[in-house]
Amino acid sequence: MKHWQLSRRTVLRGAGAALALPFLEQMLPSIARADTQPPKRFLAWYVPCGIYMELFTPTTQGAGYALTPILQPLAAHKSDILILTNLANRPARPDGAGDHASGTGAFITAAHPYKTQGSDISNGISIDQVIANQVGQATRFPSLQLGTQGGGTVGDCDSGYSCAYANNISWSGPSTPLAKEVNPQSLFDRLVGDIQQSEAAAQKRRLYQQSILDVVKEDSNRLQGKLGRTDQRKLDEYFTSVREVERRVQQQPPSCPVGTRPNLPTDIRDRATLMLDLMVLAFQCDLTRVASFMLENAGSNYAFTFLGLSGGHHSYSHHGTDQANYDALQAIDTWEMQQLANLLDRMKSVGEPNGTLLDNSVVFLSSEISDGDRHNHDNMPVIVAGRGGGAISPGRHVVFDSEIPVANLFVSLAQVCGASVSTFGNSTGPCPGLSA
């Protein structure tokens, strides 16, 4: 496994049972080979139910733009974020109703999710997976899918769309959503659970795990020929997953300070904090370079009681131009921006040879729709944070004269992250204006 940074094992165990992982300065890894260029990292971040655009979109353009009320939490990061206005995700428009599920399915696929409750799910591959397929092989996890809410909906997920569209933004192929991890403890165990074994024990364990995978892979091979085409496609998911686990088993465990195993919080604020901390850990230790994060699922009706709001998010988002609903949305959206600010804080605190982790990253944040009431898929709320290793010049509000597919942005961001991509979804080219 090609680690870009570390040459010695520096496994430290954090003391105490703090809620958040300890990110003490002295625990940050020393950079062994400062001449090596750090890798680029990609994160796609999803928030549900749209954004209150009137208080989100800056009224002025360029570098000197004024932060709007909802963007206030990002004041300290103003020079690290790019606000992009007039991007559209037209393929996300559903057939009939179902904008939440359809917009979520298309969130980073920029493809048109086929309306079905299950028998023939069809979407596109998502941009994080395009990147992971090209740059993810260098790391232990080609990509991570994270979230704060598993699912558990009763009834119809959204107007005839399967919950697969509503609960997943990462798709490895048209019919294969990639389920997300919502439990910080499990994520910690997956990331670094085997880090504390002796080399000999770890080696034998890898051999044994591989031998199990060999047998079940053979089972799946023999079965394949006896099945019809739909069943074969299902079994392909199995085979692909075995291959993926196999690759992971064969790799050396990471050498990186991992902190303490987190506890299992129930509060959404703590869950969000922990997932973001672990994501930064995974980036910092080069366990992965690609991640997606869903802060709740499509059309979430979460009640933000800690913001003094008794109704649900989705109910408020159908604001009907009512001021009380607008006030609630402003509070929720501002809280969401605070979470982004917390992540950017963390990413900036990780030093890398040419700057910080954030400087070498691309964070894309948006929602499944623009306005919660209109359910529109144009004029999307879009923030890009980070410098992508220098390819992006943040600190500006860029307003495109004519509408540009968000797929164009995905093409450009994928290129920034080192993936060779010229077209994606409904793209018409790269996205202008990312560098000044």
Binding site: D99, Q117, G228, K234, S310
Partner: protein, 568 residues
Amino acid sequence: MKNASCKLLLPAAMASRLGTAVLWVAVIALNGCFGQSQLSSSDSSTGGGNPGTGDANLCAGPRDPGRITIHRLNRAEYNNTVRDLLGDTTGPSRDFPVDDSGYGFDNIADVLSLSPLLMEKYQAAAEALINAAWDRDSASGGPYSVRVCDPNGNPGCGRQILARFARRAWRRPATSDELDRYVALTNVAAQQGDLAEVGVKLALQAVLVSPSFIYRIELDSDPQTRSAHAVNDYELATRLSYFLGSSTPDDELSSKADNGSLHQPTVLEQQVRRMLGDPKSFALQENFVGQWLYTRATDSVQPDSRLFPMFNDALRAAMRQETQLFVQSLISENRSILDLLDADYTYLNDRLADHYGFPRPGTAVAQRTSVAGSKRGGILTQASFLTATSQPNRTSPVKRGKWVLSQLLCTAPPPPPPNVPPLPEGSGSGSVRQRLEQHRTNPVCASCHSLMDPIGFGLENFDAIGQWRDQDVDGPIDASGVLPGDVSFNGEKQLASILRADPRLPTCVVRQVLTYALGRGLTDADQCAVDDMTRALKTRGTGFADLFAIVATSDAFTQRRGEPGANP
């Protein structure tokens, strides 16, 4: 309503058969709020669809059993399966990614995908399960024993252990070729200088990671033809066991598969009765009823704590338990499916009795309690449903009405178009009823809301957590409603009796049970089979247990077919 075309596709045969209630159906169709559940639609919503064709001509000839995709165990099924296989009650699937649902249920094979993340969790769970089982066996033995001999220094033992375990885990005997390959795995450990048992444990782990365990696999002799054939007895035992118990077949069911008698209708029905009497059939409450009647949602509802300070986890649990025990009693006593609406008893513990204003039974465990002559009785008066279909801070007649239409009558209205103004909230905006009436002055909204809202109005005496109320902040409760066709009623009791007589109800219950039983969405091609089953159910007297027997012995359940088209 831009998506709900105003089609009137009411078959004449249906109209002649259904009597008075058909008037309501006809008006619904005329109103245009029927677009998604029309007969011509192959994309019916919420496991529902149309309420029946009744056209004998369309239903001539053999029934197409439909095609079922290989079925990954969902989280509930995984936990129950390892419980029955190894006696493990730790619930290892707790950390698995959530199963997506479709057609109203999370056991739909087409939707159950497998990701690398889940594969990793399968491998970790298998290791933990086998290690725990092995250690347990050295102390005890017993029905879940895996370690039936000592493999160290006993060359034939590994194969014996594996053959026995694979038969149970894979729900069919392993082939000798499979056993050869698994036994060979034990050599890997020997080459590393480990004891033979280390290798056997590796092979046992592999049994739990194999596609033969993870998936319920059914094979066709020719996977590319549509001609129906009976599933074999192992496959049938597996279907039945996951249908009624969300788990692997038990010893008796397995023996009926081993001796090849299970497909005989009398044996099959006998097994249905037996399994419905087994405590494991409570899985139907957790999984089928939990999703059909939204009982599961009681786990995640968030009533506003300022308005409802009395709501807590104990009440949450009591609500859930009431509906579970109630529907379980309907099934185990073979009561009419129609009693769902107006049974004169329910299940209360002290907490829920306080909530409903009944005398405490004196227990934390819910007791069967007569509610004859009271305001309660039937699912529409149960707090689990009433709370799950409310907003955090108020009732929602719309959600309650939609629930009745989609879950009980399988005629879900299409969702609202974008840009509809929501109900105004806050003081000075009038009662919920007044605000909804205002909303319905818009004819686009009225076409659907005239179906949903009156049903919800009839339940307005129950607040957002299911307590009785005679008035709310806006004054005395008006629980009257007018259903399409000028059917007026006042209060929950009258509403329940109208619904009880609705011909769509039995058909819909059949559709819900069949969708769950097969783990696939129903299509137009299934309508004739649904009609057959509904007729059989009425002939037998609409008993709930009879319904499960009818579904389990149907062609759709006992047969399968392949699909035309070249393999990729």
